[in-house]
Amino acid sequence: MATLIPPAPRKAYDAIVVGCGPGGSTAAYHLAQRGFRVLAIERHAFPRYHIGESLTGVAASLLSEMGLVDEMARRAFPEKTGVKVVGREAKSAFFVPSLVPTWQVRRDEFDQMLLDRAVAVGVEHVQGSVKRVLRDGDRVVGVAYRTGSRSDDLLQEVHAGMVVDATGHTALMSRHHVAGVRQVDAFGHQIAVFTQFEGALRDEGSMGNNTVIFYAKKHHWAWFIPLSETIVSVGAVVPTSTFKQIADSPDALMGWATENINPELTRRLRDARATEPVRTVRNYSYRIEPYAGPGWLCVGDAHRFADPIFSFGVAFAMCEGVAAAKATAQALRDHREADALADYVTYCDRGHEAAYDLIRYFWRYPAFFPFQVQGAFRHDMMRLFSGDFFRDEEIPALVAMRESLEAFEGVELEDGVARSIAGRVHAAYSDFQGIAGAYLDVAEGAVCVSFVLDDDRLELYERMYEIEGSLYREFGERSVAVRAYAPSDEADGLRLVRQVGGRVPRASLDGAHRIFDHRGAP
């Protein structure tokens, strides 16, 4: 028997926003401001804990647009003027100022504040859990949600011209097979452990409110984010393979990290005391495509999460929330849905690609990164660190980093088809965690791309579909093969774990051209 009278007074809205984190509330606010009737559904009772506690510079103007600057000051969120990056063994450090000051935020309060603001301008908010996505042919036309926790509580159906999925890592639309499947992305084999400390040593004065990033060897790093006068959020991120070797629990990993990631982090935490349990997120790097379609679109983490190192996520989701409101308005009011959604995707992809290239440049060329933030590129790098990379204009520092990322030495091939295939494989996979190497073999019209994996994982196979598909289309399925090798105890240390497609010029990697190979890299 149903026990609750559904609280939603309407059955139809202009737009439904599912998820009331920063992306969802920002989208809902801007939709309501444009005069649309908006229902915002959130699963959790607010306030609630959430990780992701630092904003980049672009957030300042977004919060100003929402009339929240005074409120940010009243709540005494620490003002962030930049990011300090401390290198291996604390032997180097550099500081990147934010284009404009922004904030570190306690997410329970911050998210509540954004949602309250959306409600204040007319968004209807309901606590409930979406159980179904309603469709009419190809079109999403609404959702069905449940307000109570009992399975026999009534499912409430609501309809709208646009459903905005802002459900974060839950990825509602992907889970309900509306959006594409969740694919593992480049930093997909990482584990993050985090807690909060009291009594941690900060820099003097206003510098003491800034983010500090400490890094060790590749893909090993930690964050230090002041959340109030007394509390600092500290997290450590390492590859899952490192975790398995050094610790048997998240608590043990946290302990190991505070001692071993960076001596400067150790110094800052010497007399500090953890005030929260150690929490964990792992294998968090994914992307979902497509992430917009007739009657629906995804915002923020609901379609992509690359890596948390430069704190792009929250402000990123807010930028996408603004863009989602604009696209929705164009779809509903001007009946230009297809164009509006295409523009939205272009906008989001531009930002994500910039963030992704910045992060992979950081990990691939740690010796060069500190120079990139000095000299002629300094302002560009401030801009990138501020998350201001959605505009359709060239950023010279980003162009330079992309040139460096695309340059590769591995293949001794003349310009031509093979070189172009190698270039594509290099661009797509050379910074992909879990893929240690790639080789190319060409003979008598047959092309074979061979990957060397860190271990035999199905999710890595899925990431090869992309290159397989494009090679098949170009050369025909019978002329192309894609193979994968994983470590083994056999003589050459590798065993063939997967082979698809047609003819293979040679049985092994001997004689194939190296595209890249990180095995044995420092």
Partner: protein, 87 residues
């Protein structure tokens, strides 16, 4: 100074200062980046050497990986950055 002379000086420097003299196979094509010979510490001593020895001040935005893949690339960078009247 001619490019090959710069290269010879650099081979000597890399062998002596960055590889502690253990550099039998080192030449101007050895992939320094890939082998991890150029890192955040060695690049600093390399840059000061370029300035002291050739008067080549490398602007930060030119300190990019493609200019440090091997000694030939570093020599080309140094040659472009060195004052024209270098004897």
């Amino acid at each position: 100074m001619k490019r090959d002379a710069i290269e010879a000086v650099l081979v000597d420097f890399v062998a002596r200062e960055l590889l502690d003299g253990d550099a039998r196979d080192l030449d101007e094509r050895t992939p320094l980046l890939e082998l991890g010979i150029i890192d955040s510490l060695t690049i600093v001593s390399l840059l000061s050497f370029l300035e002291e020895r050739f008067g080549a001040r490398i602007a930060p935005e030119r300190v990019r990986p493609e200019h440090f893949v091997n000694i030939a690339a570093i020599a080309a960078l140094a040659e472009r950055a060195a004052p024209d009247d270098e004897s």
